[in-house]
């Protein structure tokens, strides 16, 4: 079994459209995991059936039981997150600011603070229209711990892949370099970097690659919209060579990405020409690498 994680550093480079295309090309021999739980979009293309759902709790939120509270204020004093303001002369917990450390509950002299499980979001196990299993999630509004939800999505995907004997897990990662990305990367066998030749795209690629290096993961890169700025495309190519990153392909600036999406389709279902062929070749490279 091989786990392929697609990330980009910068958003809007075409990462999800490409990941969904790879999932489509892998047919039934794949488990798809959407780890961009903050703004999960892959279901709009792969049309999973949302067959099974479960609530996911991670971490804690403090709650003050007002009847037991003697208003001593020790909780607010120790809270480093300014999560216990005084509202109408009572200490109350601001659930969005609370990070669930539990320090307040430990110092409360009357045990008036309870630590409740924090709702993190919903986890779905589905079947896509191509017949492959898909694990995805929806982060709760204002929820913390998206990294933990990402880990849950990945663990679930892996279990299904083992049980159903699938050769591939394809993971759509999240933008940035923080905890959800770190969680997406753990356990990867191959990382696909999707970038674009803009000053921002290149800047973000370099940063996310710095992160990758600390994991010592094998990586390949797709330069999307490569004809937008040939100068930067060449700079990226030099960078890839220097860093020993496989240059998987250049893809043109092509509105088929948007048109396919607007039709609720992956690019390889929507386009029948050169673009489709290129993406098929990339998938061949990735799956054999």
């Amino acid at each position: 079994m091989k786990e392929i994680v697609v990330i980009s550093g910068k958003g809007g480079t075409g990462k999800t459209s490409l990941t969904a295309s790879f999932a489509e090309l892998a047919g039934e021999n794949v488990v798809v995991a959407d780890c961009d739980v903050d703004a999960a979009d892959m279901h709009l293309l792969l049309k999973p059936d949302f067959a099974k759902s479960e609530d996911f709790y991670s971490g804690y939120t403090a709650k003050i039981i007002q009847d037991e509270c003697i208003q001593c204020g020790k909780c607010a004093e120790v809270c480093r997150f300014n999560a216990i303001p005084v509202v109408r002369e009572k200490y109350v917990v601001d659930p969005i600011a609370c990070e669930g450390c539990g320090y307040c509950a430990r110092v409360c002299p009357t045990d008036a603070i309870e630590m409740n499980d924090a709702y993190s979001g919903k986890l779905y196990v589905s079947e896509t229209k191509a017949g492959s299993p898909m694990v995805h999630a929806r982060l709760g509004i204002g929820a913390d711990n998206s990294g933990k939800l990402v880990t849950k999505v990945k663990t679930e995907a892996k279990e299904i892949a083992v049980k159903k004997n699938k050769d591939f897990i394809i993971v759509d990662g999240s933008p940035g370099i923080g905890c959800p990305v770190v969680s997406s990367l753990s356990g990867a066998d191959f990382v696909v970097l999707v970038t674009e030749p803009s000053v921002s795209g290149f800047h973000d690629l370099k940063r996310v690659y710095e992160l990758l290096k600390t994991f010592r993961l094998k990586a390949g890169c797709i330069i999307n919209k490569s004809d937008l700025n040939f100068e930067i495309t060449n700079e990226i190519k030099t960078f890839l060579e220097e860093e020993n990153i496989i240059h998987l392909a250049d893809l043109p600036y092509d509105e088929s990405f948007t048109k396919a999406m607007t039709n609720g389709k992956t690019i390889v279902e929507f386009d029948n020409g050169e673009l489709k062929e290129k993406i098929e070749n990339i998938w061949k490279d990735i799956s054999n690498n």
Partner: protein
């Protein structure tokens, strides 16, 4: 007045709008642009200025003092983040898991876990005529953006007069970093694109802003691609569409070169004027 520019989906044009709007407003009034997308800050690629201040930013992490420790195990048991591991007499701290809550440090009966600063990122402050630009960059392998966003805002509070318009270039998504970035804003501009992804993530962003009880308006970027679902939705829900920035390859090219748009593309200037007028009206309302 504080305006956060945010979006659920990444790559919809937050940085484009933030940098162009800040520079455009600065033609008339003093403005400060703050890049709070500390994981991947990009505004600095579009804004130049003279470096005024550069600071390392730290978060506080417990450090084990072996001599003082009697291996009672309290630190491990009070840490809700599994950032402290005790094996026999040996204590290990995992800094990347630590939220700096101080519980282990202050509840340790022998003071064996004093807190020490650990570098988590860098803040830079640039200045040009009417425009201050402040950005922070998270260290690689540092996973938590929230503390750095928080400290960046503290810096702004201490160094920028209250009456200057503040524009936040916020991180993407809907979770803790964007909440930290937008929670003290007076108004949120949600940037989206008229595609199914843009629309879906706009709805998530709206849910988040409603949860935070924020006033917001929408800017449609790459107007003309995709479909009109976003517009229909905003009309139906009574959400103000502040501006529409046209889809054009020329804009994408200028952006790719790190150039601002409104000087060479009149349509963009027109749209920025609309947003400026809206902001000035909001300010008037706030004064009243």
């Amino acid at each position: 007045m504080k305006i956060a520019i945010a979006s659920g989906k990444g790559g919809t044009g937050k940085t484009t709008l933030s940098s162009n709007l800040a520079k455009f407003l600065a033609e008339e009034i003093p403005v400060v642009l703050i890049d709070l997308d500390v994981e991947e800050p990009n505004s600095g690629l579009f804004i130049s200025g003279e470096l005024k201040e550069s600071q390392d930013k730290f978060k506080m992490i417990p450090e084990w003092v072996e001599d003082k420790c009697d291996a009672c195990g309290i630190c491990q048991s009070v840490c809700n983040y599994n950032a402290i591991l005790q094996l026999g007499d040996l204590i290990t701290v995992f800094p990347e898991l630590c939220h700096s809550c101080y519980a282990c440090s202050e509840l340790c009966p022998t003071n064996a876990l004093p807190m020490f600063p650990k570098k988590m990122g860098e803040l830079r402050h640039y200045q040009s005529k009417n425009l201050d630009f402040i950005e922070s960059k998270l260290e690689i392998r540092e996973e938590q953006a929230v503390p750095l966003i928080h400290q960046t805002k503290s810096y702004v509070k201490e160094n920028i007069p209250e009456n200057v318009i503040q524009i936040y270039d916020s991180p993407p998504g809907t979770s803790c970093p964007v909440i930290e970035a937008s929670k003290d804003a007076d108004f949120i501009i949600l940037v989206t694109e008229p595609t199914p992804f843009g629309f879906h993530d706009l709805k998530l962003a709206i849910d988040t802003m409603e949860e935070l009880d924020k006033e917001f308006g929408v800017v449609i970027n790459r107007d003309g691609i995709g479909n009109d679902d976003v517009e229909k939705f905003c009309d139906r829900e009574g959400i103000e569409i502040l501006a529409k920035i046209p889809n054009s390859r020329r804009i994408a090219e200028l952006y790719s070169q790190g150039k601002l748009l409104y000087d060479s593309i009149p349509e963009v200037r027109e749209q920025l004027e609309k947003i400026r007028d809206y902001i000035f009206e909001l300010e008037l309302k706030m004064v009243k």
